[in-house]
């Protein structure tokens, strides 16, 4: 199972390189966005959809997608959810602290495949973090694409990421943004419902559109099926898979998903290739 796109191996693959935390912004109760710069040497030159292994001194490493703007030079940006000891340690890092970084690894969102077509980006929860990089790339070259649609579903309004940016994106004429939450208090004036409900109303041409979907596995599976039901071709829908990852260089065997190694062939995959695997329980 080959990678969706070919790329060079990461320059920094086997041991972390120290990066300094420049900024730290709290997104939600358990999620922070960190901006990092290398203490020495070059940055990571990552493409949207790729990930890096972030290291907290003495605690360990976790894979985190890049969520910055690959079209502009600048710091490495990662949005991290604190769900375990390593991610908690990373989320506690303050400006001036040092984290280890190695990467970038994995396959990228194939933005070029969407040239000339409408682009539908569907994000669930923290899935917006890796998709934001793809969105930046599309918007930086918006003349090359048709309509661009962002559909974003979160748990509650307090769990939405990048709120200020979402509002800025709403103001753009070249981007159609729809946001919904699973549940909200009555002071929320926006939509309440599951993110797949947004697909039917979004303005795009399914017969040629390319879709990038990221979120919990069930959300991606259901969203992809819903896109197919609305007429989007299965081989023009891309998902980003997640599995336990230790080495990120295809040596440790942990990220296997049936015939594929997610750190090497993914995390971005075409839906038609993934669909039969997604149906197998405990694969």
């Amino acid at each position: 199972m080959g990678a969706a796109t070919e790329r060079r191996p990461a320059a920094v693959a086997t041991a972390p390189v120290p990066f300094r935390v420049l900024r730290r912004r709290r997104e939600t109760a358990d999620t922070w966005t960190l901006e990092l710069e290398p203490i020495a040497g070059e940055g990571l030159a990552a493409e949207p959809g790729q990930f890096a292994m972030l290291y907290a001194f003495g605690v360990g490493e976790v894979p985190v997608s890049i969520s910055g703007d690959p079209t502009r030079p600048g710091p490495l940006v990662h949005t991290v959810r604190a769900v375990g000891p390593v991610s908690q340690a990373i989320c506690s890092a303050r400006p001036g602290d040092t984290l280890g970084v190695r990467g970038p690894f994995g396959s990228a969102w194939p933005v070029e495949k969407a040239r000339g077509s409408d682009v539908v980006i569907v994000a669930g929860g923290i899935g917006l973090a890796p998709l934001r990089s793809a969105l930046y790339t599309v918007l930086a070259n918006d003349a090359d694409f048709g309509s661009v649609v962002l559909l974003y579903g979160g748990r509650t309004p307090a769990d939405l990421l990048y709120r200020r940016e979402l509002e800025r994106w709403r103001g753009r004429l070249d981007l159609d943004v729809a946001v919904t939450v699973d549940t909200a208090a009555a002071d929320w004036r926006g939509k309440v419902g599951v993110v797949t409900q947004l697909i039917g109303r979004a303005a795009f041409d399914p017969s040629s559109a390319v879709a990038f979907v990221c979120g919990p596995e069930i959300m991606m599976r259901v969203t992809a099926q819903s896109l197919v039901d609305h007429g989007v071709a299965s081989d023009r829908i891309y998902l980003s898979m997640e599995r336990n990852m230790r080495c990120a260089v295809a040596h440790c065997g942990h990220c296997q998903f049936g015939p594929t190694l997610i750190c090497r062939d993914g995390p971005v995959y075409r839906h038609d290739v993934l669909a039969p695997l997604l149906e197998v329980r405990e694969l």
Partner: protein
């Protein structure tokens, strides 16, 4: 000023109904509008109206003691609200509030029920449409029940 029948053709719920059937339904209907923040109906009220939203968004809410008013779902233009009027005890289960200026076509429930009983073909047609909407909404709600974005702990 468009007739109600013409307005109904813009609502997907009524797709495929014949002109005669639309005329029959229109006979039970009137237009209404609600300002932002206004309640269309309250939980516990008698469910005697079926609404088709022509413009604007409404929120289905439930008041939960100590948590306040929680929005269960939002319904937008082109969609329909309410099925508690279909079967006894004809009582609303939620508050429904306009989130902005909302224009609706409101159908008298007793009138609609009467027409369905008198014309079973029309009755079956409407029931199928309601069943489809309920299935879709139930499916969406079940997905939200999984709390997929939660921490899983």
């Amino acid at each position: 000023m468009e007739t109600i029948e013409v307005m109904l053709r813009d609502i997907p719920f009524f797709d495929g109904l014949e002109a005669k059937e639309l005329e029959l339904l229109a006979g039970c209907a009137s237009n209404a509008r609600f300002q932002e923040g206004e309640l269309l109906f309250r939980e516990g009220d008698k469910a005697d109206t079926f609404y088709a939203v022509r413009h604007g968004t409404v929120a289905l809410e439930m008041f939960v003691p100590a948590r306040g008013a929680i929005t269960i779902e939002t319904i937008e233009e082109g969609e329909v609200i309410g099925w508690s009027w279909l079967f006894p005890p004809y009582r609303w289960h939620f508050d429904v509030r306009a989130l902005e200026l909302v224009r609706v076509t409101a159908f008298d429930a007793a009138c609609l029920r009467g027409k369905c009983e008198a014309d079973p073909v029309l009755g079956y047609s409407l029931m199928s449409r309601f069943a489809q909407i309920m299935i879709e909404r139930l499916q969406w709600t079940r997905l939200r029940l999984l709390d997929l974005y939660g921490r899983g702990d």
